[in-house]
């Protein structure tokens, strides 16, 4: 599986969420067939709530982990 990472730390709101939504839509086919995983690095506490919420609503599987001073939000295939 190819992991595509986006570093969107430090950006103005709501750039973080918009970037994530745009990439999810762009890679929707690859996400569904399991060939791509998207990973977003963000320091925006609001986005730690909004990105997973949006992706989950779209049916994707989401995991959030802590990095050194940032959060890593990973989005891949459809939820079972």
């Amino acid at each position: 599986m190819k992991v595509i990472e986006f570093d969107i730390r430090g950006q103005i709101c709501p750039s973080t969420l918009l970037t994530a939504l745009k990439e999810i839509n762009e890679y929707s086919d690859q996400l569904v067939d399991g060939t791509v995983r998207l990973a977003f690095r963000t320091d925006n506490r609001d986005a730690v709530g909004t990105i997973p919420e949006s992706a989950t609503n779209m049916g994707y599987s989401v995991t959030v982990t802590r990095g050194d001073g940032y959060y890593l939000i990973e989005i891949d295939g459809l939820e079972p």
Binding site: R9, G10, Q11, C13, K22, R45, D46, G49
Partner: protein, 382 residues
């Protein structure tokens, strides 16, 4: 003559500011974002918590008034309505969305390391300085267009005891809030560490607002500090010009501090007075509170390599907000957390202007700044 109780006031305000900064950071309680997300994403959970903050403040202020704890009612620096409230609110709405945070949001984000918010902070100071240039014209406009002169709140205009209007207004708000709470409509899912649910933040902020009102004589407010900073900085570069500007000479605040029964004065000019004693510690407290929260969560980082357009947006938004907060006069925090809870007519006009302003700000942000956020995505430097 009694000595001015500045150390006491400064200590109280520093503590209030620190607690406010901690709460804002933990819950990411961004008022600008609440209005922006209503128009961009139709997200309303955070706005519901703002209603909770207003209704909770409404109930607390009225209870305190009935118990005789608020000798200054309405509080100082709140005036009769004028179209200036509407125009100021409209411009403020544009500015706060472009800046990525309101006057308080800018501070807590700055405390957590946001360089963009630092750009907005600089814009706020410049915007306040610009207002000083147009003050004579704008003050004359306000004077000519003020209506219901002598009346500040809706109960005063209608010549009714406040409780007659406050109770039904709070009851409607509470009904809606209970309905949303039952359906989970006040909760936000978040994996952020140490996350404080925004509805809890709203209740805590209303308690801090009440504390400020009882202990200082006014709810939380900070925008005069931006004007003062603009005066101090302007005095360094253009001392004669600043000394001649009417805005910096004016002393709009003249009141008796309820806790110590001391007469105090203050204005937007570059001198130490009660507004300095109240607002500079509040500003410092909010930044320090947020910084402490970010450090304790190991989230404090500075990233400066973000697209230039976002710096321009934050700085420009800050300028518009600084200008608008003097034109309105005062800001969203003063009107939404202070004026609306006592049904101030000027605050209702401010909110009426704020909504279309935030809508336009959202359109501008999307059309001019975030056209292609992915292509411009930043790289970090720790």
């Amino acid at each position: 003559m009694t000595a001015a109780p500045y150390p006491l006031i400064m200590g109280i305000c520093l503590l209030l500011g620190f607690a406010t900064g901690m709460i804002l950071h933990r819950s990411d309680y961004c008022i600008a974002g609440m209005f922006r997300d209503l128009f961009l994403f139709k997200r309303v959970v955070m706005l519901r918590t703002l209603l909770l903050l207003i209704v909770s403040s409404m109930v607390l202020f009225e209870l305190a008034r009935l118990l005789g704890m608020l000798p200054l009612y309405p509080f100082p620096l709140l005036y009769s309505p004028t179209p200036a409230n509407l125009i100021g609110g409209f411009l403020f709405g544009i500015g706060m969305v472009l800046a990525g945070g309101c006057v308080v949001g800018t501070l807590y984000k700055m405390g957590a390391g946001s360089i963009l918010s630092t750009a907005a902070f600089a814009g706020l100071i410049l915007g306040s300085a610009l207002y000083a240039e147009i003050h004579p014209f704008w003050a004359s406009f306000i004077k000519r267009t003020t209506f219901f002169s002598g009346s500040i709140t809706l109960p005063q205009i209608l010549k009714l005891p406040p409780v007659i209007l406050i109770v039904p207004a709070a009851a409607v708000g509470l009904f809606l809030l209970l309905k949303w709470k039952k359906s989970g409509g006040l909760l936000r899912q978040s994996s952020a560490e140490g996350y404080l649910q925004p509805w809890k933040a709203a209740l805590l902020l209303s308690l801090l607002g009440l504390s400020s009102y009882v202990l200082i004589g006014m709810p939380l407010g900070i925008t005069s500090s931006y004007a003062k900073l603009s005066g101090y900085l302007g005095s360094i570069v253009f001392p004669d010009h600043v000394a001649g500007l009417a805005y910096y000479q004016a002393i709009p605040l003249k009141y008796v501090h309820p806790l110590t029964n001391t007469y105090l004065e203050g204005g937007g000019g570059p001198r130490f007075d009660v507004l300095s004693a109240v607002q500079f510690p509040l500003v410092a407290g909010i930044i320090l509170g947020s910084l402490s929260s970010a450090l304790s969560l190991k989230e404090f980082r500075i990233y400066y390599k973000v697209p230039a357009g976002q710096y321009i947006s934050a700085f420009t938004g800050g300028i518009i907000m600084g200008l608008a907060s003097r034109m309105a006069p005062t800001c969203n925090v003063w009107h939404l957390m202070g004026g609306l809870p006592i049904l101030a007519a000027s605050s209702m006009l401010f909110l009426t202007g704020l909504l279309p302003g935030a809508w336009l700000g959202s359109r501008l942000l999307m059309g001019l700044v975030l056209k292609n956020p992915v292509a411009e995505k930043g790289r970090c430097k720790v």
